[in-house]
Amino acid sequence: MKLPLISEVLSNPALVSDLNLADWDVLVRQARRTGLLARLAETLKGSKWEASVPRQVRWHLEADHVLAERQKIAVRWEVSQIRDALMGLEAPVILLKGAAYVMAGMPAARGRLFSDVDILVPLEKINQAEAALMLAGWHAQAEDAYDERYYRLWMHEIPPMQHIRRGSVVDMHHAILPRTARYHPDPLKLRAAAVPIDSVPGLFVLQPVDMVLHAACHLFHDGELPHGLRDLSDMDLLLRYFGADRNFWTELPKRAAELELERPLFYALRYARYFFKTPVPIAVDVALNKAAPSLPYMMDAMFHRALGPEHDSYRDSFSRLARFAAYIRAHWLRMPPLMLARHLLHKALISRKEAPT
């Protein structure tokens, strides 16, 4: 399968000078569908390629650029509110994913759109933290009793908490993988190595290698495929940023082994390289060799389709099957078979929510 145009352009923006209008049509649609339009906009804005953006296309980039800029301000505000609410917790509050990228001022924040702020707190403090956030206006919103139980008993997070006035959502985690999952990276190890954010005393982000491992495990263990390509683009930006430090690359596979996250890291590097031409030293491949799946080409066939844009311009006869397989796989890793059967049955027959296929 040919690479999607959006990933080609993000890894090599110079390509835009050769695009005709029909190419731009595909590019904007793929970018929109994958949540990467704002990132495309910020990549081109102020660059020497900005002039080659056709007149008709400009507003699309401008509109999402406006959105991303505004969201960055909103995220900073929400983070400060969360920090204030959790002041008395006497435990480090760690920002994860998008909010971490923004607060730590990293390139992965570029053109990043948000739906929520993710935080990590110790399991023994989670009730106290929930109560504190409730006092500040956030309330846990499970869809139904089944969902509530599913989150509280089995997951690594409580149901999403929505702010009663502002509508902002906090996802509060106590681990980075579900309790029922195959692997159990120890959250204590992550917390012990967390790094304080200079600009907001009291808040932390994961150390570089852990940030990458968390992103990898989220992508390849969580089944959040609608944002697959955007998360992979985050991964690309993280690796390029941290990778400037040579120690990072020796540290990364070691830490992956320590946290039982070698397989997700293997995939993250493999597909970041495939979609975004991320530079990864060969030595890292060697170190991760034993983590390779037994049928890598079959996994490629699945992930090349499932991680790409879910759009007519990037579809073949196997796309649906690949997406379905990826969904099942992610759930397979999340919980034991019997529980999985019960969960999928419930989702298919009882919950109104549609399963992504």
């Binding site: 005709n20 049509d25 008709q56 999402d64 505004r70 301000i73």
Partner: protein, 295 residues
Amino acid sequence: MSRLSRNGLSLMTGPFTVRIRSDIPYVAEGLAQLYGQFVLSDLEFQDFYVSVKRPCGLRRWIAPKANFIYDGFRPFQPLPADQAFPMLEWGMNWCVSSHAHHFLIIHAAVVEKNGFAVILPAPPGSGKSTLCAGLVLSGWRLLSDELTLIDPATGLIHPLPRPISLKNQSIKIIQDFSRDAFLNRPSHDTAKGTVTHLRPPDDSVHRQQEPVKPGWVIFPKWQAEVEAALTPRSQAQTFIYLAQNAFNYSQLGERAFDAGTELIRQCDCYDFTYHALPDAIRMFDALAEGKKSIK
């Protein structure tokens, strides 16, 4: 029809190009009747790809439905097939209001005469669309009956003169008001009652690329047995109302605040109660004449 169902039809509507596909005859009929005066765009780049289609499967025959699809994605639940055309209209409004953040988009009708626009924001049921239709059938230029598009850089309002949606009693009022009014086949029992669309005047469509200065913000309210009357209202309150009724005020943040305050600065703000459409139109014409002499 066959072109519509296969490749789709590309239309230029105000600042946007949209490619529409549909296999539903009601949609084809509505487009032919209400969009005949729009220019077909043959560009390779389209702003929005939309389609209205019947879902597959048995239900197609038992209780026919229509789906609105935006570039392969369904933002809404399906509606009964009888509502396919209004669904296309609502879907196209959604496309604009949830993507075009280079504009501040206010939920309001907007019409123009003598170079200045009247913005008519109002809650549903206040007679906003009826008044808008009446003005448009009396020589005012239609800019939009739903979406007021303000360019924050220039402060100008950009037209999007698509068909005007009329509901329930206002359908008859407009039919009685003007013999020039063309309304398409109504859809019954929608979420908003009976809905039909008024064909926009040719002149408004031909001038759809001409943005215009804002002149007034007027809140219409239809009331039984009252004389038509304009009462000045506070600019600050008007601003707050517009902000709350903008589709993307919070997404735009500071830009929206600046664009909104600049808009209000240039506008006279009124509450307007009316009973008979002809009286209302006389008062609006007088307003437009007044502005002309200032200009």
